[in-house]
């Protein structure tokens, strides 16, 4: 199983490449092999992967390696930009009808999350000043109607239901009901169905014919594999989709389906569902999704900040240090200097791939005054102590505390945090090794 940390994997494999000037074909090939694997592990459709890799390759070769970045970082940047572009440059919103009510029809496979998402969407629109009506048109799954009614009650949105009547009739009647009750948005929760089930797909076509939806939204589980493309394509051909909503993104699914769907069908992802709670629906951000698919956290923002404020040689030294285990208090101090130019440390840490989730980091909130104290403490150490923090025993700690105008507890805390950071770095290198195992044989799309 992979930990999907493409950024560190890339840096590891590309460490040996010492490109100066322009990216060579060799740099790019080495990098793209990793990118290809990461995308496949994220369940991006294999054809999309193939096309994507070719695009990046042609763009990257000959590209100038910026002074502040390593070739690996440079490739990541290009990959990330291309990915975000492919996923849709900007976020797309729901098109509201000029003459209300706007009809939104939710469709998708069984278990994708249509009912919950209908509720969330209603709540979101309500909070924007609309008066949505939820319509229970799933008459097949046991207690689906009840589920929507319970949700409606929770979020205080009216639910229209007619029991297990014909869904086409229900939709039509609901439309009339909404018109006469001043609802400006009507959300149809339809039953989950297979795209190859002609009978049930015909039912959707009939609902569409009768209610003329302004938005037909495909609800897709973020954990979907290679089949996502077939599903989206088929629903799109039969109904004409206006957008997709990606659900269950609060888990560890990398959500490659988003990319597949967008690039094969052209349908924009409009929202993502990120919690079981009713407020867990967010507008889709292509750039965030790109980083997620690559398993890179907000690596790009980090790279951008690095570009803006890092001294080129220091940055290179630092990234080399990060790769190795030899992380000392000296490096820590030097890092702090750079970090101060880049903004709050905890924000920065959160942007580093994988680090945001690490438990060890949770107690490590760092504010600016704290930063100053840390600097003072490190400055009061001898060079020997900075390089070998393990020699800092009780008496040395007292001396350092006195010298820096802090308390022994502060020194203790710093040393502990430093040790945690160092452990973390170690963990990263070992994760790195694990995830690399056994990929050498893979020749796909070479």
């Amino acid at each position: 199983m992979s930990f999907g940390n493409l950024a560190s994997r890339l840096q590891e494999t590309m460490k040996k490449l010492k490109s100066r000037g322009k990216l060579t074909e060799k740099d790019v090939d080495v990098a793209l092999r990793e990118v290809r694997l990461a995308l496949l592990e994220a369940d991006v459709h294999y054809k999309v992967v193939k096309d994507f890799v070719n695009t990046v390759k042609s763009r990257a070769i000959g590209h100038e390696v910026l002074n502040s970045l390593s070739p690996a970082q440079q490739v990541i940047k290009i990959v990330d930009q291309e990915l975000a572009a492919l996923m849709g440059g900007t976020q797309s919103k729901i098109a509201l009808a000029s003459k209300p009510p706007t009809v939104i029809m939710m469709v998708g496979l069984q278990g994708a999350g249509k009912t919950t998402t209908s509720g969330k969407l209603a709540r979101l629109l309500h909070s924007q000043g609309h008066r949505p009506l939820l319509v229970a048109a799933d008459v097949y799954r046991p207690a689906a109607i009840k589920q929507l009614m319970v949700l409606g009650e929770q979020i205080n949105i009216p639910v229209f239901e007619m029991g297990e009547d014909d869904p086409v009739v229900i939709a039509k009647t609901a439309f009339q009901h909404g018109m006469s009750h001043g609802n400006d948005v009507i959300i149809l929760d339809t039953a989950g169905r297979l795209h190859i089930d002609t009978e049930l797909m015909d039912e959707l076509k009939n609902i569409r014919k009768e209610t003329q939806p302004h938005e037909i939204l495909l609800v897709v589980d973020a954990m979907t594999g290679q089949d996502a493309v077939n599903v989206a394509q088929s629903f799109n051909e039969q109904l004409g989709l206006d957008g997709a909503i990606l659900t269950k993104l609060d888990g560890d699914a990398r959500g490659g389906a988003a990319l597949s769907i967008k690039s094969v069908t052209g349908i924009p992802i409009k929202y993502v569902a990120i919690s079981e709670k009713m407020d867990g629906l967010e507008v889709f951000h292509p750039d965030r999704m790109a980083s997620r698919i690559l398993g890179m956290g907000d690596m790009l923002s980090l790279i951008e900040k690095a570009e803006a404020s890092f001294d080129q040689n220091k940055a290179k030294e630092l990234s080399d240090k990060l790769q190795k285990d030899g992380f000392t208090l000296e490096d820590f101090q030097e890092q702090l200097e750079q970090v101060k130019k880049m903004g709050p440390l905890n924000q920065l840490v959160g942007m580093m791939p994988g680090m945001g989730n690490l438990k060890q980091l949770q107690g490590m909130e760092v504010d600016e005054s704290h930063l100053k104290r840390i600097e003072a403490i490190i400055r009061s150490m001898t060079v020997e102590e900075r390089r070998h923090p393990e020699i800092i025993a009780g008496s040395r700690r007292k001396r350092i505390a006195r010298g820096s105008g802090t308390r022994v507890q502060d020194v203790n805390r710093l040393l502990k945090q430093f040790e945690q950071t160092r452990q973390m770095m170690k963990q990263f290198t070992s994760i790195d090794k694990k995830s690399k195992k056994g990929k050498k044989l893979f020749s796909l799309f070479q």
């Binding site: 069984q110 999350g113 799954r141 089930d197 290679q226 888990g251």
Partner: protein, 335 residues
Amino acid sequence: MGWKNIFSHREKTETDVELQTEEIEEIAEPISKSGLFARLKQGLTKTREGFVGKVEQLVRGRKIDDELFEELEEILIQADVGVPTTMMLTERLRLRVSESKSTEGNQIQVWLKEEIVQLLQANNETLVLSDQKPAGIMVVGVNGAGKTTTIGKLAHRLSNEGAKVLLGAGDTFRAAAIEQLRVWADRVGVDIIAHNSGSDPAAVAFDTVAAARARDCNVFILDTAGRLQTKTNLMAELGKVHRVVIRELGRELDEVLLVVDATTGQNALSQAKLFSESVPLTGIVLTKLDGTAKGGIILALAHELKLPVKLIGVGETYTDLQDFDAKEFAQALFA
């Protein structure tokens, strides 16, 4: 096509109560083995066409070369087999090619089938329930995987075999989850233990075991709320429910089944791995194989985690549950 038959009686079973009872009686007759097999094949028609059809097309009249292997890899990847398992399979095929010095493309198909059967068979186990009363089954999985539906199907099958079955409505979280299970209980004619929505699932679990014992049931099946495997608090809750069950039962459960949607990609591995950290999984139920998803994740699960697939879901009615049998599965896949 197979799925059409599976769905053609959907309206009756889902909406017409009278017809439903008729159907229960009809189905109550022992289902013949060939019937099961035909149904499995029906459900797998799509899988077969999509997956094997492609392999067949690929190898026909071709010589074995690198290009052929690359295309084979693409087919496997497209079936959600995943990179590591795909590499393992093609590596084994390459080995066999170099050993036999065969250059006939057709040979690849034969070998691939053998390799897949071997991989799946190593994990081939069926549902095992003890004679001790009550036997216990717990069903877990991510949201929407098909847990509750599988329980309905399983309850139908077991009570059909003459077992006295009790269901436990352990999903007290999702809206109307209890009602959903209740509909299944009514539909297949078994009892259910349920508390109010929002109550403690461990208490429901406790009561289910106690009631199963008091009512002299052969087996109880406990539903649980869907949860993403990364939510540590919810996974801890699941662990607690499990502990309560085995404490009250006085022994391990007979089956702790992880329900996995066949449409799932590589995340199924994470699911299996993390769920097994909270509860001792005994096997997997692979649902929704009646769709176009190729089901290749089974191979990855067998290869990387050695978890046996025990049952498969091939539709939405209570007869759409089959034993997973490696040979039959591969056979149907390659027929």
